[in-house]
């Protein structure tokens, strides 16, 4: 029950969804749509697990008065507050308070966190862009060309734009194709291992 049924389910759904592609018909298309919807719906239940885990960790921290427990209060209050503002009688996703919280808290913090990375990426650029070898010089030139394409460089703008576009469309595409071919092969091999029950780490130990 603990091991065999999950293996059978993985095999059945894996094979059926792989086969449906080769049987272009209405029932097979319907099965495909139901499976995709199913994955989304189960994802919502998985989110419930994640939120429960967040509440559990936060509650325990507050109860034990662990270090920095005050921040768990902030997290839990803001989480419930935001969810409450998203309720039907508050206007749902288009409710005025929900939109205000989204625009004035969620967006500014998110943008600030990501823009914070600009400072760290500056120091990373210094290390990565030092032309210590021919290979790192190629990295430097490619990155510089790409950045120069979008800034005004006067009479140099046209040639830089042309060389930059060619670099993106040709050598960059070649390397991306090599990577994608590798990713494709790896994904197919992993999917086959899972469907055939060779890879079972998702079942846990017992």
């Amino acid at each position: 029950m603990k091991q065999q049924i999950p293996l059978v389910l993985v095999f059945v759904f894996g094979v059926l969804l792989a086969i449906q592609y080769f049987v272009p018909s209405e029932p097979s298309q319907r099965f495909y749509e139901v499976a995709l919807d199913g994955l989304t719906v189960i994802g919502i239940f998985a989110m419930v697990l994640g939120i429960w885990s967040q509440i559990h960790v936060g509650y325990n921290k507050i109860k034990r008065r662990a270090e920095d427990w005050q921040y768990s209060v902030v997290t839990l209050v803001s989480m419930f507050g935001m969810a409450f503002c998203g309720l039907s009688f508050m206007g749902g996703l288009n409710g005025p308070i929900f939109r205000q919280l989204y625009n004035n808290i969620f967006i500014p913090i998110q943008a600030a966190i990501f823009s914070l990375l600009a400072f760290y990426i500056a120091s990373a650029s210094y290390r990565a862009f030092r032309a210590r070898s021919a290979v790192s010089t190629v990295l430097l030139v490619a990155a510089l060309l790409l950045m120069l394409r979008v800034i005004p460089t006067g009479p140099l703008a046209d040639p830089i734009n042309q060389i930059g576009s060619w670099m993106l469309m040709v050598p960059n595409m070649a390397a991306k194709r090599a990577i994608l071919i590798g990713v494709g092969l790896g994904s197919v091999a992993t999917a086959l291992k899972i469907v055939l029950g060779i890879e079972r780490s998702y079942l846990g130990k017992d």
Binding site: I5, P6, L9, F13, G14, A18, Y21, V34, D37, G38, T40, V41, I42, F45, M47, L49, W52, Q54, D68, Y71, T75, S78, M79, M82, A83, F84, G86, S88, F98, N104, I105, P108, I109, Q110, A112, F114, L116, L117, A128, V135, V138, L139, A142, A143, L146, M147, V150, W166, N172, A174, A175, K176, R177, A178, I179, I181, V195, Y202, L203, G204
Partner: protein, 272 residues
């Protein structure tokens, strides 16, 4: 003790700046309603406070940053909870599940003969929640098995088609475009972007680049001799991609920073 006093002084200064900003922004509001001006003044000041709290991490980890970070975790969890409920449960499940529920949520009911199928994922979803009950937690593996099996089955054809077959077929391209002989090629040679020479060169770079890139990722044979040369060319080609990706990332982050600076100096301080 000294650091606690310093922290309290700093908090008081921040609170004072916050208050002054709130009052100033409320006073310079554009709306006729005093309440709207006060509310907008508070919201913009609070957004500034949060932005500066996040930037304070550049100095070191501190309570302001931790506060903003915790607030973000909570707000985003609440946001995704609401979004998931309205877009997936109400938008996807309710219209197919029940007429009365559809009427309650004001969404059009979709009558279908096979609407019973939509309950299967709900059952799997409920089974997933058994993870919260230690005695029957193993049942959640069934739902996990559905997710993993379905994803593996879908990926099997999807990756094979888009990441493998289409990439391989697009890499096998003519290496001599519009070839009418060496004499014609030499007499018409030019560096024009749409010329024959550039077209031939591009196709050679793509074909050789893909092959050499693949050779670099082939670890079952030692990279020596001709194989080593191809592998080194592969590294060069890959470095161009990594450089381009790095350049894009730098530009993306810098533009976000510019956005935040514009917000601080434009929307808040009205200097820009």
């Amino acid at each position: 003790m000294t650091s606690k006093i310093a922290m309290r002084i700093l908090t008081a200064i921040v609170a004072l700046i916050f208050l002054v900003s709130w009052i100033t922004r409320s006073g310079s509001g554009m709306s006729d309603s005093a309440f709207t001006n006060v509310r907008d003044g508070f919201l913009i000041t609070f957004a500034v406070f949060l932005t500066l709290s996040i930037f304070s991490f550049l100095y070191r980890d501190n309570p302001f940053y931790k506060f903003a970070e915790s607030l973000y975790v909570g707000i985003s969890a609440g946001y995704w909870m609401s979004y998931g409920f309205w877009s997936t449960i109400v938008g996807n499940f309710v219209p197919r599940a029940s007429r009365s529920l559809s009427e309650f949520f004001h969404v059009p009911y979709q009558e279908r003969a096979d609407h019973i199928l939509i309950y299967i994922p709900i059952i799997f979803g409920l089974i997933l929640l058994t993870r919260l009950l230690p005695k029957i937690g193993w049942l959640s593996r069934w739902s996990l098995a559905f997710i993993i099996g379905a994803t593996a089955g879908l990926n099997l054809t999807r990756y094979l088609r888009s990441d493998f077959i289409s990439q391989v077929s697009n890499s096998f391209i003519p290496l001599f475009v519009d070839w009418k002989g060496a004499g014609d090629f030499v007499s018409h040679i030019s560096l024009a972007a749409d010329g024959q020479f550039i077209a031939i060169l591009s196709n050679w770079v793509i074909f050789v680049g893909v092959m050499c890139g693949l050779v670099y990722f082939f670890f079952s044979k030692e990279h020596k001799g001709a194989f080593g040369v191809a592998s080194r060319i592969g590294i060069w080609i890959l470095m161009i991609t990594f450089g381009a990706s790095f350049g894009y990332t730098v530009m993306g982050r810098i533009s976000l920073l510019v956005g935040r600076i514009t917000f601080l100096f434009g929307d808040w301080l009205n200097i820009l």
